[in-house]
């Protein structure tokens, strides 16, 4: 069943993208982002996208590239601090922005993929986030109702994958990718290496292939956002 494998990101997106779609993009900062698929999305020229992603990339890398081209109408994120173009568009009312607490965002995406339309959380009670949301008491404490999130397309990045769509992530590059893989009507995964089916240990697979409709091997720059290092003491 090699029908899931595509030769590159552009091919993997072809026939799927339309203006106005909701796209989920994995990654935390620049770590574990689907670099190749973001570039292909830029190439596609799709407009008025709603993008669900914890962050918005930097000016010249990651989702920042789609901001440059004004393809994004709205972002649903938890933190967007590292992007000047984002700030400019937002302050000029050229971009909509919906902030979610990071854990609420992660859980909304998991819920969306898991057939759970709503759940209650303590996070954000008494803050701006709670305004207009249903409040409910459980065991004497107040919680707010948050809704499940799904997407027309999810683009995720994994370390290794196979023709069945099974994925394994590496270290903290896992982050939002596994939940987003479950919450896309169509999920496309880019990996560093496509291996033969059977190579990935069934006990180690993070995303079972059922969630992945298309997969491609990409080239990854894996840019580092903050290179903090420990100096070796010289003898």
């Amino acid at each position: 069943m090699s029908r899931k494998i595509f030769p590159n990101a552009t091919e993997a997106l072809s026939g799927l993208v339309q203006d106005g779609m909701t796209i989920m993009a994995g990654g935390f900062g620049l770590c574990g982002i689907p670099e190749n698929l973001i570039l292909a999305l830029r190439e596609s020229g799709a407009q008025n996208l709603t993008v669900v992603s914890n962050n918005a990339g930097v000016d010249d890398f990651g989702l920042g590239l789609l901001l440059q081209t004004r393809q994004i109408k709205k972002m649903i994120s938890s933190y967007v601090g590292e992007n000047k173009e984002f700030e400019r568009q937002f302050l000029n009312d050229e971009l909509e922005l919906e902030f979610n607490p990071q854990g609420t965002l992660a859980e909304r995406i998991r819920a969306g993929g898991a057939g759970i339309p709503g759940f209650y959380t303590k996070t954000g009670v008494g803050t701006l986030i709670a305004e207009g949301k249903e409040h409910k008491e459980f065991g004497g404490e107040t919680y707010i109702l948050e809704s499940g999130l799904t997407a027309d397309i999810s683009i995720v990045k994994a370390w290794r994958g196979d023709a069945q769509g099974n994925l394994i992530y590496r270290k903290t590059a896992r982050n939002f990718n596994p939940m987003m893989a479950t919450a896309g009507r169509v999920t496309i995964a880019e990996v560093e290496e496509i291996v033969e089916v059977g190579v990935l240990d069934p006990d180690h697979i993070h995303t079972p292939g059922i969630f992945v409709q298309r997969i491609l091997e990409g080239q990854h720059e894996k840019r580092v956002e903050q290179r903090t290092i420990t100096q070796r003491e010289t003898a």
């Binding site: 935390f28 914890n54 938890s78 607490p101 854990g103 009670v125 580092v224 903050q226 290092i229």
Partner: protein, 208 residues
């Protein structure tokens, strides 16, 4: 004499207990990791999906797939495990983390915390702060006692948009350590040469 940033971190490190799982915020809280006493065992959680966070890497060990919630390159330890953001915040929201040490713009006398947005300025987002203060067992705030204009940051009520209500257990400012108790703020200790009088003058919240 107000505590320096480093002294603040050292004071905050006294919150750590053997066997604790701890989440440290960005800024001064991050420095707390440098003051963990060698006789206790503490595991640091990073909310982007890691338990058991190590130090910054040597130059040649930098790994773009291995960062903390501040997007800084870090290292793993023998004990480390990785997980998704959903599992990470399930851990946080579910009350499994013993202690979170965070920065603050304002704290109220009932433990309300504001640390994510200033109206009129560009808002970067709350990241995981709202989840941490809502879910972690004990929340300790590390902050300057007053703002750049010398105005109190420990208030009767916060003026900035809130991160959480009734969430702060303890404040460690450059002037001392203060607990949120019924009725207001209780002085636990003061920095060298700082007087209760000075603290009262620089605090809007009731001191009990």
């Amino acid at each position: 004499m107000p505590w320096t940033r480093n002294e603040l971190a050292r004071e905050a490190a006294k919150e750590l207990q053997d066997g604790f799982y701890v989440n440290l915020g960005i800024g001064i809280p991050t420095l707390v990791a440098n003051h963990i006493p060698s006789n206790i065992d503490v595991t640091l959680q990073s909310e982007n999906g890691m338990l058991g966070m190590g130090a910054f890497p040597y130059e040649e060990d930098v790994d773009p797939d291995l960062i903390n919630a501040g997007k800084q390159t870090i290292t793993e330890l023998d004990r480390t495990s990785y997980f998704s953001s959903a599992d990470s915040f399930a851990m946080i929201r579910g009350g499994h983390i013993d202690l979170s040490i965070l920065g603050a713009m304002e704290v109220s006398e009932t433990g309300d915390l504001a640390n994510w947005m200033i109206p009129g300025k560009m808002v970067k987002g709350m990241g995981g702060a709202m989840d941490l203060v809502a879910g972690v067992k004990r929340v300790v705030v590390v902050m300057d006692h007053t703002n750049k204009k010398g105005e109190p940051k420990i208030l009767k009520q916060c003026t900035l948009p809130l991160t959480g209500i009734k969430v702060v257990d303890r404040i460690i400012s450059d002037l001392g350590v203060f607990d949120i108790v019924p009725g207001g703020i209780k002085i636990v200790s003061l920095s060298p040469e700082t007087t209760e009088e000075e603290v009262r003058a620089k605090t809007e919240a009731a001191i009990v």
